[in-house]
C-alpha cells in the first residue's frame, strides 16, 4: 500500500522535499475526520429539527391553532 506523502518546503533553504506521513500524522487525520463527521451529523440534525419546527409553526399560524413554546421560539427573536 502506498503511503500518503507531504510536500515540505524548508523556508530557510527553499528546498522542497516529499516525505511519507508518519503513522501518528495518519492517525491524527483519521481522528480529525471522525470528529468532523460527528459534528457535521449533529449540525445537520439541528438544522433539520429547526426546519421541522418552523414548518409546524407556519402551518399552525395559518390554521389559527396555538403554537408550542419551541415553535414560537422559531418566530420570535
Amino acid at each position: 500500500m502506498t503511503m500518503p506523502t507531504k510536500l515540505v518546503v524548508d523556508c530557510s533553504t527553499g528546498v522542497t522535499t516529499e516525505v511519507e506521513l508518519t503513522a501518528e500524522e495518519i492517525a491524527q487525520r483519521e481522528a480529525d475526520a471522525a470528529a468532523f463527521a460527528t459534528a457535521e451529523a449533529e449540525r445537520v440534525a439541528r438544522a433539520e429539527a429547526l426546519a421541522t419546527l418552523k414548518a409546524s409553526a407556519k402551518a399552525k399560524l395559518v390554521a389559527g391553532e396555538p403554537l408550542t413554546a419551541e415553535e414560537a421560539d422559531t418566530l420570535v427573536i
Binding site: 500518503p4 507531504k6 510536500l7 523556508c11 506521513l21 491524527q28 480529525d32
Partner: protein, 173 residues
Amino acid sequence: MALTYEAIATVTVAGATAATIEFTSIPNTYTDLLLLCSFRNDRNATEDAVKMSLNGSTSNFSTRSLSGSGSAAASDTNLVTAFGGMSVSATATASTFSNNMVYIPNYTSSNAKSYSVEAMCETNGSTAYMYVIAGLWNPSPQAAITSISFAPNLGTNFVQYSTATLYGIKNTV
C-alpha cells in the same frame, strides 16, 4: 505587491498528489504572515474544507465562519477542526481550483494567534462555496509560529497544480 511583502517560499504539487503541504523553518523576521493558496483535492464531492496546522498542531483552534453557497447563507462555530480554507474537489468542473487568502498577524508573539481567511470555490457551476473565517489558535504554552501546513479535511490528497505561497510582511520597508 507592496514593498513590505516578501515571498518566502512557494510549493506546488507537481507531478503527483500530496496529502499535506507544509512550510517549515519560517523565519521570525517579519511582522505578519500571508498565505495565498489554490487547492483542488480528490474528495468525491464538489468541495472540501482545508485544515491548517500551526507548529504541527490542529488542536486549540476556535473559529467563526460566514458562508454562502450561491443559494443559501450560513454562519457556524468551529465547523471544521483547525478551519483554514476551502478546496475544490473531484466532481467539480475540471481544472477549477479554490482561492484562499490566510492572514496571520503577530505570528511571533507570545500570545494567542488570531487569523482570518477568505476562501472561494469558484467552479464555473451553479454552486460556489465562499467562506470568511475568523480563527484563533490558543495553545499552551504559547510559541511563535515556525511551521504551517494545509491538508484536505475529508479528501486524501491535493492534486496536481495545487499551490501555496507564503509571504512575510514587515510593518516598515
